[in-house]
Amino acid sequence: MSIELRFDKALYRRDAIEQAIAAFARHADCVLEDGGQVWRVRVEARRPERERAIAGELGNWALGATIRAGGVRS
């Protein structure tokens, strides 16, 4: 069981997504792929009952890091 997150390239920075993946590496196996207009991240948590929460927090982390970096255009 895994969850796939899709991050629009016009809204999310790749380095922010990588930062988020690194932050949750202890809790889940995350794979980043280029999906054309989106970055695809497959999240597979070590504890399946925590998968939804980890995927949600990973998305928040990527969004927060993108915003703190001034968005995609900067």
């Binding site: 929460a53 949600g56 915003i67």
Partner: protein, 205 residues
């Protein structure tokens, strides 16, 4: 994916997904700038899982509460708060855009004042020979400059009132009425008795 309408909100703008406990919201990208969407999303990061996307000229926002029930009423309330905050952020963004020049000028003045008085090294390097600033009211004028100016003006003033006859007498004494050059005797008489007949002060003693 299950898609249900939220009461009071057009389904084309927002809908809920009870199976995943999420609500989706579309915001017109011509009305709401991306910076406003970012600012609003940032406020909600502590209580929701937020995912941004794009859909047909709109920003798509997916919200899911981290804690508590994800029923329609909760999702609708959360969506309403997000929409209000988004409108507020968009307006603040617009005000900032309109007042950017003023804000920059005020900040520059504040930073300039915060730097404090110049040090001795800076004063040594300061060019005091540069042109002074405009001072139409003479506020920056020193007392000496002001006093000297008045004295000079007084000396150049034309005679008026009771002083006129005295000046006229002096002028008549210095210059004969017929306009010829004064003789040596006349010049001595004007200069006074301290000088001798040949005009040499030494010989007068």
């Amino acid at each position: 994916m299950e898609r249900t309408k939220l009461p009071g909100i057009p389904e084309t703008l927002a809908w809920a997904d009870p199976s995943s406990g999420e609500v989706s919201f579309l915001a017109d990208s011509t009305v709401y700038p991306l910076d406003a969407v970012y600012a609003t999303a940032y406020v909600f990061l502590d209580r929701c899982w937020v995912l941004l996307g794009r859909h047909d000229g709109h920003w798509r926002v997916v919200l899911a509460p981290k804690k508590g029930p994800a029923d329609d009423e909760t999702l609708r309330a959360m969506l309403g708060e997000f929409a209000n905050e988004l409108l507020s952020s968009a307006w603040r963004h617009e005000i900032t855009r309109q007042n950017r020049a003023t804000i920059e000028a005020v900040v520059m003045h504040a930073l300039g004042g915060a730097m404090g008085p110049p040090g001795l090294d800076e004063l040594e390097e300061f060019d005091f020979s540069s042109e002074p600033f405009e001072d139409p009211l003479g506020i920056a004028q020193s007392w000496e400059e002001k006093y000297r100016k008045r004295t000079a003006e007084a000396a150049n003033e034309p005679p008026s009132g009771s002083s006129a006859p005295r000046d006229a007498e002096g002028a008549a004494a210095a210059t004969p009425a017929n306009g010829r050059e004064p003789s040596a005797a006349e010049a001595d008489a004007v200069a006074g008795p301290a000088q001798g007949g040949d005009g040499d002060p030494e010989s007068a003693r």
